[in-house]
Subunit: 328 residues, 4 copies
Amino acid sequence: MQRSELYKLLNIKLDLAVEAHDLLRGDAGQEIPGVKMEEMPFEYGQIKTITILNEQGAAMMGRAPGSYITLDSPALRENNKMVHKKIGEILAEKLKTILPLQENSTILVVGLGNWNATPDALGPKVIEFSMATRHLFQYAPEELRHGLRSVCVFAPGVLGITGIETAELIKGAVDRIQPDFIIAIDALAAGSVERINSTIQVATTGINPGSGIGNKRVGINEETMGVPVIAIGVPTVVHAGLIAHQAMENLFNHLQNTPALRAVYQALQPVAVQQMINQVLEPFGGQLMVTPKEIDELITNTAKIIAMALALALHPGIPPQEVEHYLH
Amino acid sequence: MQRSELYKLLNIKLDLAVEAHDLLRGDAGQEIPGVKMEEMPFEYGQIKTITILNEQGAAMMGRAPGSYITLDSPALRENNKMVHKKIGEILAEKLKTILPLQENSTILVVGLGNWNATPDALGPKVIEFSMATRHLFQYAPEELRHGLRSVCVFAPGVLGITGIETAELIKGAVDRIQPDFIIAIDALAAGSVERINSTIQVATTGINPGSGIGNKRVGINEETMGVPVIAIGVPTVVHAGLIAHQAMENLFNHLQNTPALRAVYQALQPVAVQQMINQVLEPFGGQLMVTPKEIDELITNTAKIIAMALALALHPGIPPQEVEHYLH
Amino acid sequence: MQRSELYKLLNIKLDLAVEAHDLLRGDAGQEIPGVKMEEMPFEYGQIKTITILNEQGAAMMGRAPGSYITLDSPALRENNKMVHKKIGEILAEKLKTILPLQENSTILVVGLGNWNATPDALGPKVIEFSMATRHLFQYAPEELRHGLRSVCVFAPGVLGITGIETAELIKGAVDRIQPDFIIAIDALAAGSVERINSTIQVATTGINPGSGIGNKRVGINEETMGVPVIAIGVPTVVHAGLIAHQAMENLFNHLQNTPALRAVYQALQPVAVQQMINQVLEPFGGQLMVTPKEIDELITNTAKIIAMALALALHPGIPPQEVEHYLH
Amino acid sequence: MQRSELYKLLNIKLDLAVEAHDLLRGDAGQEIPGVKMEEMPFEYGQIKTITILNEQGAAMMGRAPGSYITLDSPALRENNKMVHKKIGEILAEKLKTILPLQENSTILVVGLGNWNATPDALGPKVIEFSMATRHLFQYAPEELRHGLRSVCVFAPGVLGITGIETAELIKGAVDRIQPDFIIAIDALAAGSVERINSTIQVATTGINPGSGIGNKRVGINEETMGVPVIAIGVPTVVHAGLIAHQAMENLFNHLQNTPALRAVYQALQPVAVQQMINQVLEPFGGQLMVTPKEIDELITNTAKIIAMALALALHPGIPPQEVEHYLH
């Protein structure tokens, strides 16, 4: 059975490029034309950079051409804030290499998601921890903004709260502020539980419709915004349908020595599997998420790491040992 | 395979008595000795009352003798506040029949759970919406408390936040306030997705160790508190392991016409199934919950229904058409 | 001594037109050319409508031509929610007479102010209680929006939090949403303590630079937004300098039978009085506010009244007895 | 006119011992029998220790015998977090000298005040930032609690929210937890604006009835709790009546060269002054507070300083350069 067909039926999207890549490469690890992948280990994990080089790669990956950097570390899930800080510094270094930073850049940081729903609140939490500086450039004496760049921060809420499409609110702000680029933070859905809060993805392609927990209807990317959009995402949930499907696959793997079964299983249509899964998930269907009990604490920790990385990457004058003093 | 054995291995407890009862009765619907069940329909659903009459029933059900009233209504999940209010009034009537109310009763309402984790925040939210009146009996003129009973409300937080076992904080308050009884609100884990936010359970037996999302280590019941404890709970999550298991069962049901398979499946040991499931849930194990995306809104709505029902049940002088004015 | 000169020195602005009007008319109650005033009592207070008819009146009043409606009621400060609801209904009726409502209007409601500072949080609180409906017109079946108008709601935060001028963010949203008009809610500064939370002002002229607690630098009015802006404001603070000055005036009134004193007092220069006052307010100067201890509860109550009035005024199909069901 | 008599009439209490001391000493700076005062400068301000040695001193000062340490620094009001951290370290050192710390001490930290009212929310904010460790001593392996003491943290709310006297809730917790001592954090009222958020007071005598913003009716001290109570307080407001009175005094000082006036002023009765002031403050009377606009940010900063100082003082194994990692 084709997994991708089932995912489509279950309305499951993989937000992490690295998972889409793994899925495409399969167990044999075949190369994907038009896609390049590099790995680099660091003290607490590894950084994978997937580059979609051309339209062929884009079609295969179902994603726009650009870079997708994945910082993986199980330490993101542990409560050691010394290590978190070091990961923040590594993320900052990585961001510096891809952000189109000029000395006088104005940057708009937007925190996507619903502040009332814990697993979706990553973006608003990063905003809460971050410091705006743009007004200092308009109203404060020069010494107050020494070593800083002009940054504004903004959590636009979600359609159900405001009645306004997120992308509309952001585009409105962009038209007024005219930032040089946008950084958009969002909570993502992963393809497996072990990715939850152990991965930070940075994408130079912005945010595409349908991605993230909140099901955006309009993308937030250079095409819609008119300026580059760098997306930072962390998976905080897995679709419940994926859990169900993975359990079924495990059962099948266990039973597969029974030859009669193999034939039956191979004949299974995705639509039949979808029905079995939906039966479990009724009446919430695709709206069910799997998330760890301590998700609030995980998200607070990760939001701090990202806020720290942003402060270090955006403001040249903040030394790492003082970065906490520039967070709220 | 014994489902109950698997649940024990997966550390899954069914918080709803009605689900434990269904499980025990099986598909054949056999009677459980020492347990009585009554059903009563109402406009928007039904009320089931399970009474555990004696120690035999208690042993079968794994619960203390007492009444477990379950108000079921899919309307709890819909956003029709007129219907919510009517359900609140029905819940209030039901509460009046089981609360040990005297004219001069002092009542302590405690909202259990972690206010930082949406699916566990039901209890604190009910407290936020509820009005304390006990101080009016000490400091305010008599006309201000006409038609009211003396109520205090309190959200004790969770062990990880305070370092204090919830039951300790409540017992401390009970010793000082000497309430006539306690009402404890808690978010529960259900055995199936369709129960999420469609059921309100009222139990005259209080709250037992290990129940609820927060895994209490000490019970909050008449034995530990010295006064009757009535528990009001709403399932807001399902253990992810249950979803995985139900999907596997659906797959098996589909495949069971293959005779070779039936034998293999029947020979499956719970511990093997547990391993298949845990493989999916690693590294979070039993700490993964399944919850709907819109859980924040569902919980706010249900917390208001419960706060409304409490106001109507506890204060004789509040007419239903004015009850909103007595909520925060 | 000229009070207006002192106010200018102390950087005190009177946000309520009715206070500016009283000040201008003086104790003798003289007519102000170009300004009309009407009074209408209602069960719990009175409604004063001040109309600035022309540029002459505008120059005298220091305000744009338009209507300034003041609903005064001490009941706004009492905790009787039945009365609050009735005041909400009266406010709704008044709003209906001045809002440029068409059957298909789209309305943008903005809640100004800092959600982190209680006395300034009125606007964001109204937004929190209000229901957005605009997305229903795009994505929901027609029966779900029966009797509703298209409303979006939005709390833009303050410059110090976002780095973005409030008016910029709103103008950005306006350009995208193209609402027919804007309703802007803001916390105001009053000229005397007795106005705190006992007055709701509705102004057809929007919000002007420097008004409100948050010291906007750019106005939010038809000129800057391109569509009509109706402002709803409630005074929640009095500048501490005003309290100081009023106490001094009381002392002088008491002492004025001493002829020697009168001459001395009359010779007092505003700048000398300013120094005496600033000495008391150092080092916070004009940034000190006087506010009641229970301001959080007062603001929550008033925000609910305004949210209720908006729901009733904007949506033709919401009956007053059900309005609570349309609030969050 | 006797200032103390007027304060009594206006129901104004000075929460800072150092202000009561200054008032008693008068402009001449006379010694107060039974009271000792020491001053020590530090880089960013000074530390004054007032010791009430005996009952005579206690009667003069209107306070229990014990130590009242005042850390004064205008830097508390500035937004330099490097300096804040250093002040936190100095406060920690001071706390270590007066806390009755044993190796195995269990400490209960309580954050008094109303989390819904910004100027009163200092205590709850310190709790929010602080880390509980007591449960690690019951449930976690030894290495996880290395270098830590057993601390529990708790914000009991206020009477109007819970219906429970704060002291009752704390005493209930104390009876269950049996801590070796209590640290109680509270927002205070100052006698002058320049004290707002520039002073941290540590008192070995706990908290007395009527002190703080919230007007406790019952003390939280060794007498009521059975264990030592160390109070940490920061003034966040000044009673509006004080501002009014100080402005009147400034006016008088200005006018006093007029001999006729001096006689009149000297004949002024406190009750007449009270009437002049109350006229300004009607209808809120003693319930009006003066507080800076940016009080939310000031309180967040000070709460962090105190949380940092508590972490450093209570846990021997936390090095100053890592203390941020032990805060929430």
